[in-house]
């Protein structure tokens, strides 16, 4: 009962976010801004889903883009090859990422720390090479060409830019709300306990492996939804979605934003996207520029932006907020 009362606050935040997002199109008609919000919905959900594992589960996955790309491809292929409607294809994408998450998670979550990171990376690269080599089905390195048909459903037509904007915002905010709900639930707190002291959790009769596996599957499903938002937006799916650099960027997003705050990954996602958009205007050497920024954050600041923000907030108000 107490959970429900506190969760009212989260719903208010979500409604506030949607209200702000609703105002944006009236302030500017610039496609750049609106497209940015759509991409942020995709990457924000993607980064937050990774933070279920990294921040709350203590499992640093370096292969999370497998699910981002997996969702995008499953959705895109369903839309292209069959005549189903968007919600059905969405459902198939969720089932697909859950199934893949179950199989890979069952193998990976037994392992600790760096082993886990490397193994998730390895599975992601396997998935990538399947997509590249299975040319007849996935389009190989060209990706899913020819566009994904955006058939109208329930009176919603995603071929229309405004409706696509709304759709992405609502799906993005609802996903974040769901993740928040899961993380504030008893399961979420069990996951934190497993992260902090797996032995203690085991003594209390918790099946650690199962908790980690559930977290892995949930993270995979939400990453898949992020991928599907992206697939709808770009009207396709490309092998880069499942490439390791995508996982690396997601890891950096949550580190830059701050993994100790729920909204940190979304902040990190928007910052990295801004950075990526700007840097390509100035230089071809995107890798060097991004690499240097990553080093500055990892070796210099050692904390995310929201960690700094909270520190400043506490210093100003002079009280310790409970986290």
């Amino acid at each position: 009962m107490n959970t429900n009362v506190t969760f009212r606050k989260e719903i208010m935040w979500a409604l506030l976010a949607l209200a702000i997002l609703a105002v944006v199109p009236y302030l500017t008609s610039s496609r750049v801004v609106l497209d940015f919000v759509i991409r942020l919905a995709a990457f924000g959900v993607f980064a937050t889903s990774l933070n279920i594992l990294v921040g709350y589960g203590g499992m640093v996955s370096f292969g999370h883009a497998l699910f981002f790309g997996g969702g995008a491809y499953a959705f895109g292929l369903m839309m292209q090859k069959t005549g189903v409607s968007i919600p059905v294809a969405f459902g198939v994408g969720i089932l697909f990422t859950a199934a893949v998450g179950f199989v890979i998670g069952a193998i990976c979550v037994r392992l600790k720390e760096i082993y886990f990171s490397f193994l998730t990376l390895a599975f992601q690269m396997l998935f990538y090479s399947i997509i590249i080599s299975w040319n007849s089905f996935t389009g190989g390195d060209q990706g899913l060409m020819g566009g994904i048909p955006r058939r109208p459903f329930f009176g919603i037509n995603l071929a229309d830019n405004t409706q696509l904007y709304w759709f992405s915002c609502v799906v993005g905010v609802v996903c974040l709300l769901l993740i928040r709900y899961i993380l504030q639930s008893p399961f979420g707190y069990t996951l934190r306990m497993v992260r902090d002291n797996a032995d203690r959790a085991r003594f209390l009769g918790i099946d650690v492996w199962r908790v980690k596996l559930y977290a892995f599957i949930l993270a995979g499903v939400f990453a898949g939804i992020g991928g599907m938002i992206m697939a709808v937006f770009v009207s396709g799916a490309y092998p880069e979605f499942t490439y390791w650099t995508m996982s690396g960027e997601a890891v950096f997003m949550i580190m830059m934003g701050g993994l100790n705050n729920f909204i940190g990954p979304v902040v990190g996602a928007s910052l990295l996207m801004l950075f990526n958009d700007m840097i390509t205007r100035f230089t071809e050497l995107h890798g060097i520029a991004l690499g240097i920024i990553v080093l500055i954050f990892a070796l210099g600041f050692k904390r995310g932006i929201t960690d700094f923000a909270i520190q400043i907030f506490r210093a100003v108000t002079g009280k310790r907020a409970s986290s």
Partner: protein, 301 residues
């Protein structure tokens, strides 16, 4: 999928010889990269995700050194030493700072270096595919063994890798230096309490791992085309090798590398599109049945 082709191949000596020699050179190169990876992990407990980029750097340094000196031996040595030097810089100024922090930071530092090195290579050597070409000395007619064709260079490469493997084994098991390294791997606090400079040992191990990766890159240069990003596939493969052999075990890396090399070369006849899949299935089986790897010890408490 063509299992019959594989069956046919296994029935003829010539095919076996050709495929086995290809498998052995792939295995030899993988061993050199994986040995460095596993050594660094065994002693420092960190996985160097940038290790594949070290290999790439080695190949490119060899390319330039070969063009300048026109000597393949000098090119290979330059690759090894150049990458060793780079590894020390990488360890002293960057990696050392994140030993104590969690995996996330180690991962990010390596991620940054993979990005930077790929771009640096693009900047210096160009983004297009490059090839060193076969040095003149090795352009002799290939050996015919049991009807199978084995290029002279393959024999040189396998021999070179075997020599390096023996030297590595000797250093680790018979010399004082090897004992110190093993002691540092076993119990770093105790080792430093005995008056040994563990910080220098760490730098030395990184240099050694870099040397091996650089040598591998140099040795591979005549038979592999180079492009930025070439390090990443070998990183994944050497990781699979170390998992199969056992993380931290050099002899395990040798067994794993040869196994993966042979799986690759014979698998490419029977199941050309599924070779990678076979490697992953092998790895998954090991992880489920014997998580410490074929020759690995139980993980440290």
């Amino acid at each position: 999928m063509d299992p019959n082709a594989l069956l046919e191949c296994v029935m003829s000596t010539s095919c076996i010889v050709t495929q086995a020699s290809t498998g052995l050179i792939v295995g030899a190169l993988l061993f050199l990269v994986a040995a460095g990876l596993t050594l660094i992990f065994g002693v420092l407990g960190v996985v160097n995700f940038a290790h594949g980029s070290f290999y790439m750097l080695g190949a490119y340094i060899a390319l330039t050194a070969y063009r300048v000196s026109d000597s393949y031996v000098i090119a290979t040595l330059a690759a090894g030493l150049g990458v060793a030097l780079f590894s020390v810089v990488f360890e002293r100024f960057f990696m050392r700072k994140v030993y104590g922090s969690d995996v996330l930071m180690q991962l990010l530092v390596c991620y940054a270096f993979i990005l930077i090195l790929d771009d640096a290579v693009k900047l210096i050597w160009g983004a297009e595919f490059q090839s060193m070409g076969m040095p003149e000395f090795f352009q002799a007619p290939p050996l015919i063994l049991g009807g199978g064709i084995v290029p002279i260079f393959y024999i040189y490469l396998i021999a070179a890798a075997a020599v390096i493997a023996v030297v590595l084994w000797y250093i680790l098991t018979k010399t004082r230096m090897g004992k110190i390294v093993r002691a540092a791997a076993h119990n770093p606090t105790m080792t430093s309490a005995l008056g040994l400079n563990t910080s220098m040992i760490y730098a030395g191990v990184f240099a050694f791992g870099g040397l091996l990766a650089g040598l591998a890159g140099g040795l591979a240069a005549p038979v592999r085309s180079m492009s930025p990003g070439m390090g990443f596939s070998i990183l994944i493969e050497s990781f699979i090798v170390t998992v199969i052999g056992g993380m931290g075990s050099v002899s395990g890396a040798l067994v794993g590398a040869l196994l993966i090399g042979l799986i690759r070369s014979f698998g490419s006849i029977g199941f050309p599109l599924f070779v990678e899949g076979i490697m992953f299935i092998a790895m998954a089986l090991i992880l489920i049945l014997k998580p410490s790897g074929l020759l690995g010890k139980e993980p440290r408490p």
